[in-house]
C-alpha cells in the first residue's frame, strides 16, 4: 500500500532524502526532473497512506489529526510544484539562466527541502522540529540565491541573516519550554516530546511559558512572514526560481505556522498563562493591513504576490488568534485554500515571466488577449485570492469576518479595511496585467497548465462543496486548537 513497502512515515522522510542523494549525482537534468516528479509523487502516496494506518506516537515521530492535514497538503503541493518545475526549468536552461550543474544542485535541494518540511511536520520533539525548520530555511536560502544575480544574492543574504536571527530566537523559546517542562516531566528527552508536554502543560510555570511563547512567536513568526518580521519574504519570493516561490508561499509559511500553532495549543492548555490569542490577533491585523497597502506600489509581479502571501498569513494568524470552533475552522480552510491558490498563481506567474522575459508589471499587459490560458488562469487565481466566490477563500473569509463581527465588532473594522484595500490593489494590478492593450512579447508559452488548473479546480470546488469527512476532520482539529 505504501511507496516502497516500508511504513509510511519512514517513506515520507526517506524517499525525499534518498531522492536528494540520487539527484545530486544525476547529470541529465531532464531525467532528474522526471525523477524529481516521481519522488514527489511517491512521497505524496506515502503521505496519503498515512490516512490508512498511522503509527503510535514515539518520542521523535508523531502523526495526529493536526499535522496529517499539513503533511498531505505539503506533499501534494510539493508534487504539483515538481510537475510545474519540470516544465519551468526547461525554459530556464534554454535561455541559459541555469546550467545543468546548477540544476543538479537545484533538484537535490528541492528534495532536501521536502524532507526537511515533512520532518518538521512529523516531528514529535520540539528540538527536532526546530532542527528541521532550520534545515528547511538554509536550503531555501541556497535556492533563492541560485540565479547568482546581484539581486538574487542580496535577497538570499537578507533571508539568511534575518532567518538566522529567527532561528536563534526560536531556539531560545524551545529551551525555555524545556525549562518549563523539566520540573514537571523530569529531565531528558521526555521534556521535549510534544505529546508529553501537551498532557502536562497545565502544570508548567506560566511565566516561563509566556516568555517561551513570545520567543517562539517571533522566531517562527519570522518564517511565517508576519509584519514586522517579514522583510526577507518579498525579496526571497521575487528573486528565487518561481517553483521555490510557490513552495515558499504554499508550504514553508504553513510549516512555520504549524509550529506556532503547536505552541499555541501548549499555552492554551495552561490556565495561568497569558492568552496567546490577542498577540496573534494583533500581529495578524498588522500584517494584513501592512501588506494590503504595500501591494499598491509594487512594480514586480512576483514580489506583489509575495506581499499578498503576507496578507493572507495575517488573516490566518488572526483567525487562529480569535480561536473558537468557527474561526479555527475558517483558519484551517483559509490556510489550505491559500496554499493551493497562491502556488497556482505562482505557476502562472512563472510562465508569464518566462514568456514576457520580465517580472516588471509595467511591461506585461493584455495577457487574456495574447495568452488566454495563462491570462485567465491568473485572473481566476487573483479572483480566488481576493476572496471572491465561488472560490474557497470566500467561504473562509465569510466565516472569519462574520464570526468576528458577532464576537468582537470593533476588530472587524481593521480587518475589513485591510481586506478591501488588498482587493483594490490586486485588481488594480490585474487590470494592467490581464487586460488592456497587450504589451511585451506575444510568443506562445511552452507551459504545463495542468498543475495550475488542478489547484484552481480544487479551490473552486471547495468554495461550493466541501466533502463531509474533510469538514468533520477540520472541525475536530478546530476543537483541538481550542
Amino acid at each position: 500500500m505504501t511507496a516502497f513497502g516500508l511504513d509510511p512515515v519512514t517513506a515520507v522522510l526517506l524517499v525525499p532524502l534518498a531522492a536528494a542523494a540520487v539527484l545530486a549525482l544525476l547529470p541529465d537534468f531532464r531525467l532528474a526532473a522526471r525523477l524529481n516528479v516521481a519522488a514527489a509523487l511517491a512521497t505524496l502516496v506515502a503521505a496519503l497512506s498515512l490516512f490508512a494506518g498511522r503509527p503510535e506516537p514515539g518520542i521523535y515521530i508523531l502523526v495526529d489529526d493536526l499535522n496529517i492535514v499539513f503533511i498531505v497538503l505539503s506533499t501534494f503541493v510539493g508534487f504539483t510544484t515538481s510537475v510545474f518545475s519540470a516544465s519551468y526549468i526547461g525554459h530556464e536552461v534554454e535561455i541559459g539562466r541555469l546550467t545543468p550543474a546548477y540544476l543538479r544542485f537545484y533538484h537535490a535541494m528541492y528534495q532536501t527541502l521536502m524532507f526537511a518540511m515533512n520532518l518538521a511536520l512529523i516531528a514529535n520533539n520540539i528540538g527536532l522540529m526546530w532542527v528541521a525548520i532550520e534545515i528547511a530555511t538554509l536550503t531555501t536560502v541556497l535556492m533563492v540565491g541560485i540565479y547568482r544575480t546581484h539581486q538574487a544574492l542580496e535577497a538570499a543574504w537578507k533571508y539568511f541573516i534575518l532567518g538566522s536571527v529567527g532561528i536563534a530566537l526560536a531556539l531560545f523559546g524551545t529551551i525555555l519550554v524545556y525549562m518549563a517542562a523539566r520540573p514537571v516531566v523530569g529531565e531528558g528527552v521526555e521534556a521535549m516530546v510534544w505529546t508529553v508536554l501537551a498532557e502536562n502543560a497545565r502544570l508548567f510555570d506560566p511565566a516561563l511559558l509566556n516568555l517561551a511563547f513570545v520567543f517562539l512567536l517571533l522566531g517562527y513568526g519570522t518564517k511565517v512572514g508576519l509584519a514586522p518580521l517579514h522583510a526577507w519574504l518579498p525579496d526571497a519570493h521575487a528573486e528565487g526560481p518561481t517553483p521555490i516561490s510557490a513552495v515558499l508561499s504554499g508550504l514553508l509559511l504553513n510549516v512555520a505556522l504549524y509550529a506556532v500553532l503547536r505552541f499555541k495549543i501548549l499555552l492554551a492548555a495552561n490556565p495561568d498563562a497569558i492568552a496567546p490569542g490577542p498577540l496573534m490577533v494583533v500581529l495578524g491585523l498588522l500584517s494584513l493591513n501592512f501588506a494590503a497597502y504595500m501591494l499598491y506600489r509594487r512594480r514586480d509581479i512576483k514580489r506583489m504576490f509575495a506581499y499578498s502571501s503576507i496578507e493572507h498569513m495575517g488573516i490566518i494568524v488572526f483567525a487562529f488568534g480569535m480561536g473558537g470552533p468557527l474561526a479555527n475552522f475558517a483558519g484551517l480552510l483559509h490556510m489550505t485554500m491559500h496554499s493551493l491558490t497562491k502556488s497556482a498563481i505562482f505557476f502562472s506567474v512563472g510562465h508569464i515571466a518566462q514568456v514576457k522575459g520580465t517580472q516588471r508589471i509595467a511591461d506585461i499587459g493584455g495577457l487574456t488577449e495574447t495568452h488566454p490560458w495563462l491570462g485567465w488562469g491568473l485572473v481566476l487565481g487573483v479572483v480566488a485570492i481576493a476572496g471572491m466566490p465561488p472560490l474557497g477563500i470566500f467561504m473562509s473569509e465569510f466565516l472569519i469576518v462574520s464570526s468576528t463581527f458577532a464576537r468582537e465588532p470593533l476588530l472587524v473594522i481593521p480587518l475589513v479595511a485591510g481586506l478591501l484595500a488588498a482587493v483594490g490593489a490586486l485588481f488594480l494590478r490585474l487590470n494592467a496585467i490581464a487586460f488592456g492593450e497587450p504589451r511585451g512579447p506575444v510568443a506562445a508559452a511552452k507551459a504545463s497548465y495542468v498543475p495550475m488548473f488542478v489547484h484552481l479546480a480544487l479551490v473552486a470546488g471547495a468554495g461550493i462543496f466541501l466533502p463531509g469527512p474533510l469538514v468533520e476532520w477540520f472541525q475536530h482539529i478546530a476543537r483541538l486548537l481550542g
Binding site: K158, I161, L162, V165, G166, A207, N210, L211, V214, F215, L218, T222, P228, L229, A231, W232, P234, I274, L279, F290, Y293, M294, Y296, R297, L326, G366, T368, V383, A386, M388, P389, P390, F394, M395, F398, V401, S402, S403, T404, F405, A406, R407, V412, V416, L419, L420, A421, V423, G424, A425, L428, N431, F435, G436, G463, I464, F465, L466, V471, Q475
Partner: protein, 677 residues
Amino acid sequence: MGAGTGRAMIDPLALLCVAALLATSVAAVVLRRSPFVSPIVYLATLAVSAGLVVYALIHLASGAAPVSHVLPLGLPWLGAHFRIDQLSAFFLLVTNLGAAGASLFALGSGRHEHAPERVLPFYPAFLAGMNIVIQADDAFTILLSWEFMSLASWALVMAHHRDRDNTRAGYIYLVMAGFGTFCLLLAFGLLAGPDGSYGFAAIRGAQQTPAVGAFVLALALVGAGSKAGLVPLHVWLPLAHPAAPSHVSALMSGVMTKVAVYCFIRIVFDLIGTPAWWAGLVVLVLGGITAALGVLYALMQHDLKRLLAYHTVENIGIIFIGLGLALAFRANEMTAGAALALTAALFHVLNHSLFKSLLFFGAGAVLTATGERDMERLGGLIHRMPVTSLTFLVGCAAISALPPLNGFASEWLTFQAILISPELPQWGLKFSIPTVGALLALSAALAAACFVKAFGITFLGRPRTRAAEVALEVDRCSLAAMAIFAGLCVLIGILPGFVIDLLAPVTASLVDNRMPAQSAVPWLSIVPIAESRSSYNGLLVFVFIAASAAIAALAIHRLASRAVRRSDPWDCGFPDPDPATQYTAGSFAQPIRRVFGTLVFRAAERVEMPPPGTLAPARFEVTVRDLIWDWLYLPIAAGVGFTADRLNTLQFLTIRRYLALVFVTLVFLLVVLALWP
C-alpha cells in the same frame, strides 16, 4: 433547519433552470470555436428565462405556499437553502422577464459582438447568479451568489477591455461591489449571531434587539444601496453600466439593481422584524435625494447609455421613496398605507425593469447601427430606424411617467401613498414627506425634460454625422425584443389593476395587509384607498385620447384641405445647410444647467470669443463635476495612496534596520510581559 417542511413539497424547477444556465456558460466555453455558439447560448438563456417567467407567474397567481429546498452545498453544516415565497416569485418574474428580453435582443445584436468569447460564457452565469440571489434562503448562499453576480457582471463590463475607460469602470465597479458585499456580510454576521446560525429560518425566529436591527438596517442600506445605486454610492453605476454590451447594460440597469432592491426588502421587511419609524425617514430621504440628483446628473450627459444609467439612479430613488414610506407606515401599524406604498415600490420595480431594458435595447440598436453612443454625433435616426425610434419613444414616454403608460401608474400610486401620510404621528416624517414628494414631482418633470432631449437629439432633427446618416434598421430579433417590451409598457399602463392584484400576496406576506382587490372595481380602473379619494383608469384615458385624436383627425381630413407641400424649413433669412447648427444635447440642457447647475455640480461655462476679424473659431466649454466624487471618493483614494507611499519606504530598508524592527518588537513584547498583571 426549515428543510423539513420544504422537502415534503419539492418542485425544483427554478433550481434546475439555474443549473441549466450554469451548464450553458460551460457550454459557451467548450463551444467557443463553433460559429453557432452565440445563437445557441442566447436561445438557451431565452428558453430558460421564459420558463422561469411562466413558473414565477404561476407561483404568484396561484398564491402557492413557499417552496424550499436544501442542497448539500455551501456551508457544510448548514447546506444551501433555497426558498421561493411570493416576494422571490415576484422578483423571479422581474428578473427573468428582463433576461428573456435581453436574450432575445442579443440573439440578433450578438452577431455584431466583436469579442463574443468574452461575453458568452459570463452572460448565463450572470443570469444564474441573479436567480440564485433571489432564491437563496441562507446568508452564505445569498452572499455567495450576490458576489458571484457582481463578478460575472464585472467580467462582462471588462468584455471590451481595450478601452481604458472600461477597465477603469470595471475596477471601480469591483471595488464598490466588494465594499457592498462586506456591508451585507456584516449585516448577516450580526443577524446570525456568534454561533453562526446563518439560515434565514433561524434568523427570522431569533428576536433582534432594536440596536441590532438599526445596525443591520444601516448596513443593508449601504450594502444593497451600493449595488442599487443610491446616492452617494452611485458613482460606479454610470461608469460600469454603459461599458458593458448593450443587452448586458440593460440587465445591469434594469434587473441587477432590482436584485439589490430585493436583497434590501428581504433583510429589512422580512428578517429584522419591524424597525423604528426613523428607519423609514432615512430611507425616504435618501430615496428623494437620489431621485433628484440622479435625474439632474442624467440631464447633463450626452452619452446616451450613460444618461440611461443615471436615470436608473433616479428610478431607484423613486423605488426607495416607496420603500421608506412603507417602513414608516409599518412602524406605526398603518398596514393599509404600508401595503399601498410597498405596492407602489414593487410596481415601479417591474415598470422600471421593463422600460429601462427597452431603452437600453434602443441605445444598443443605435450603437449597432451607427457605432455611436454620443448623442452629439447622432440625429435624424427616426427616418432610418422607424421601429427602433417608435419603441424608444414609448420607453421615453413611459419613464417620463406620462399617462396612459406604466411609469405613470406606479408614480401615481407613490403620490397616493404620500397623500395619506399626514396621519403619521412623527414630526420628522411630517416635515420630510412633503419635501420628498416635491423632490419626486421635480424629478418626474425633469425626467420628462431629459427624455425630450434624449429622443429629440438622437432620433429627431438632421443627422449630425455620416454614421447617423447611413444608419440602417437593426435585425428582427432586436426589434422583436423592443416591440414586446414596448407592448408590455402600454399594456401594464392601461391595465395596472392586474399587476396590483398580482402584488397583493407579496405585500400581504410582508406587511400583513394588501391593497383592495382591483379586479372588482368597475371599468378596470384602480382605486388605492376609496372611490371618493382617488382613482385612475389608464384604459379609459387611453381610449379617450385615441378616440378624440381619431375624431379630430377624421373630421379634419373630411373638412379641411389635405394638401401637403414639402419645402425647406423656415430659416429666418439665414440658411443653415450645416446640421451642426442644430440644437445640441448640451445646448438643450443649458437652461436647466443654469437653474440647478452651479448649485448641484459646480457647472462652469467658459466662452472664448475671438476678436472680430480673426478667423479663429469661438469656443464654448462647459465643465460639470460630480461633487460626490470630488468630496467623498477622491479623498479616500488620496488617503490610500498616501498610506501606500508612506509604508512603501519599508520595502527599502537596510538589513540592520529590519533587524532593528525585530529587536524592537521583541523588547516591546518582553516589556508587555514584564508589566502583565
